[in-house]
């Protein structure tokens, strides 16, 4: 009997998260003058705990009050009904200790739940919507408090993010409906964020997806308003400055205003908006990129613009703080910090803004004149 008890105790202890030396001794706090500053982190593929810690330290030191972090369903529920929370626990615990709020992005279909025929990465058939909802609810319950904002899926208006199926607002609304109740019952304080639609000009019938304006309008037409508390928007600047006028046939930063107009027309003006992905890119080989100086300047001007004009916006989150490794292509030039943790100049510029440190009106000197 005693041996059995000892064995049981050992088994329980062995299943606990191992003690860590990486957690700070006490909970830290973010010093910021601009609480709307937020960054998207990519910690789900970090192997080393130290990399998670250092990334989140850099987010805190930046002056970001909040991070957006992906918590892949496929990583947590590898077998139906068996959740493995160790990685998510680690990320949430470190974020808490750095004083960071977490907006969780939920998605990525586990192998067992993927459509048997297509096996496509994000192809979830409707009969398994309750399985996703159960994961979302379990997540909401486990992290209630530290994580009270949950984004249901990512960019469902793109075929690639929708299991290579045609973009289908009605199915996305049914996924929202399936998830909303379970999440709210698990954590009544939770805010369910819908959308996170990709900015795109794809017309109806396109194999690649559907533009986010038509997609959102159709969501409202189908009664989606009941099934979310706030809207997540992806707002990239591409080659245009942040103040450029929005238009349905233009991709630019202020295109978000067109989604906001759809919300207002649908009577959803009381709901807050979270821009959970944003930024400019300065890769020399990408046709949608700008110069490094423009990237930093546009990013700061975007924050200043939303501060002055968008009182409906809760957070503006920059994609992305850092990648775990270089991909040797244009995505590397969306980051604020290199893969080896070296902050780029844009990081320091954003830090100056967020922390309220001195910042000149223009970050550079005027073009030199020969006779100056």
């Amino acid at each position: 009997m005693l041996a059995a008890l000892v064995l049981a105790a050992l088994l329980i202890l062995s299943r606990r998260e191992p003690a860590t030396d990486y957690l700070p001794a006490e909970r830290l706090s973010v010093e910021t003058e601009k609480p709307q500053v937020c960054v998207h982190t990519l910690l789900e593929n970090e192997v080393e705990e130290q990399a998670i810690l250092r990334s989140l330290e850099l987010a805190r030191e930046l002056g970001a009050s909040t991070i957006v972090q992906f918590f892949p369903w496929a990583y947590v529920e590898r077998e139906p009904g068996r959740y493995s929370w160790s990685l998510a626990d680690r990320i949430v615990r470190h974020a808490q200790m750095q004083g960071l709020r977490v907006i969780a992005r939920l998605g990525l279909v586990p192998d067992w739940a993927r459509d048997r025929k297509t096996k496509a990465l994000n192809h979830l058939t409707e009969d398994l919507f309750p399985a996703f909802a159960a994961y979302a609810a379990a997540f909401a319950e486990r992290y209630a408090g530290p994580v009270d904002h949950l984004i249901v899926w990512n960019e469902p208006n793109l075929s690639f993010e929708w299991g290579y199926q045609p973009a289908d607002p009605a199915r996305y609304v049914r996924l929202l409906e399936a998830s909303y109740g379970p999440i709210k019952r698990a954590n009544p304080q939770a805010k369910v964020l819908a959308g996170a639609l990709a900015p795109t000009l794809e017309p109806r019938g396109s194999a690649a997806g559907l533009n986010e304006l038509d997609f959102l309008q159709e969501m409202y037409d189908l009664g989606a308003s009941e099934f979310f508390d706030a809207l997540a928007i992806h707002s990239y600047g591409f080659r245009e400055p942040p103040e450029a006028e929005p238009a349905p046939d233009q991709l630019n930063f202020r295109r978000s205003e067109l989604q906001r107009a759809i919300m207002l027309a649908a009577g959803d003006g009381h709901k807050r908006v979270y821009i959970t992905e944003s930024g400019w890119n300065d890769h020399p080989r990408w046709t949608q990129a700008v110069r490094p100086s423009q990237r930093a300047n546009y990013t700061l001007r975007a924050f200043e613009y939303v501060e002055r004009h968008w009182d409906w916006l809760e957070h503006l989150c920059v994609w992305a703080l850092r990648y775990p490794a270089d991909v040797y292509s244009y995505p590397d030039n969306f980051t604020l910090v290199s893969a080896d943790f070296a902050p780029k100049p844009i990081y320091y510029a954003l830090q100056d803004y967020a922390r309220g440190w001195a910042r000149s009106e223009t970050p550079w000197l005027p073009p030199p004149q020969a006779d100056a």
Partner: protein, 257 residues
């Protein structure tokens, strides 16, 4: 007796060596362009949206990488044919065998070494510290000097790294690398830190201006070939060596930069 022993010892060492040399010669075959490039031409993938390395002019690809591809093929004894591919599709085309080589201002990507073999560098686009010809400025002597650079660029990162190392620099950020070089030329900075291509393009427009240039970082551009057939890579690398030795590569770079 002693002499016989010495001869025996010498033969003991020499015979196996001779055998090894003979065996390797038996298997040695000179590199054969017909084996490496069985189509009788070298098909080169290029992203023609990156002037002056490659760009489209009237439906025809032109630029430094194009001229380099032509010269390499000529050195190997074949003709070159160029296929225009978007930057993100270059490696897929190479690995799928649609092209033989990529010459497209590429940097070495360590993660691709399982599929791809890179040539020696043909161009260095690292950061250069530029100073007036009359006042040579080395990185070690920067302390207190006004240095011009592009705001938020890799030059900005380098200057911050120098500062972290304890160097005191009077920073002069500008919106564009050309403005940083203007500041140097107009006497408003003692040095300008820019990438080599920006410097070369600027210097071409200022024919009467002389400057000292020293590399601070290295950013080599290379040619990519598939691992198999290995002859292709060997032929390209030795042809590149020949172009360097003859001065042809330098002439091509001078033409465009």
């Amino acid at each position: 007796m002693k002499r016989r022993l010495q001869v025996t010892r010498a033969l003991t060492v020499a015979l196996p060596l001779l055998f090894l040399v003979a065996a390797s010669l038996r298997h040695y075959q000179p590199l054969d362009p017909a084996v490496a490039f069985p189509a009788g031409e070298i098909v080169i993938g290029v992203d023609a949206s990156f002037p002056p390395f490659a760009f489209d002019e009237g439906g025809e690809s032109r630029g430094l990488d194009i001229d380099l591809g032509i010269a390499l093929a000529r050195e190997i004894g074949l003709s070159a044919r160029f296929v225009s591919i978007s930057f993100n599709g270059l490696y897929d085309s190479l690995i799928a065998g649609k092209v033989d080589l990529l010459i497209s201002a590429l940097r070495v990507e360590p993660a691709r070494r399982d599929d791809v073999r890179y040539s020696q560098p043909y161009y260095n686009n690292g950061l250069v510290l530029v100073s007036e010809a009359s006042a040579s400025l080395e990185p070690e002597a920067l302390a207190g000097a006004p240095i011009a650079y592009e705001y938020a660029s890799s030059a900005d990162s380098q200057i911050r790294a120098w500062e972290r190392a304890g160097m005191r620099i009077e920073k002069r950020p500008y919106e564009l690398p050309a403005y940083a070089l203007d500041a140097l030329r107009f006497g408003q900075a003692e040095g300008a830190l820019v990438d080599a291509t920006s410097y070369r393009l600027y210097a071409k427009t200022q024919s009467d201006w002389r400057a000292n240039v020293s590399f601070v970082t290295h950013d080599p551009y290379v040619i990519a070939a598939r691992l198999d057939p290995s002859d292709a890579w060997k032929l390209v690398d030795s042809a590149l060596s020949a172009l360097k030795a003859s001065g042809e590569l330098a002439r091509i770079v001078e033409t465009w930069l």
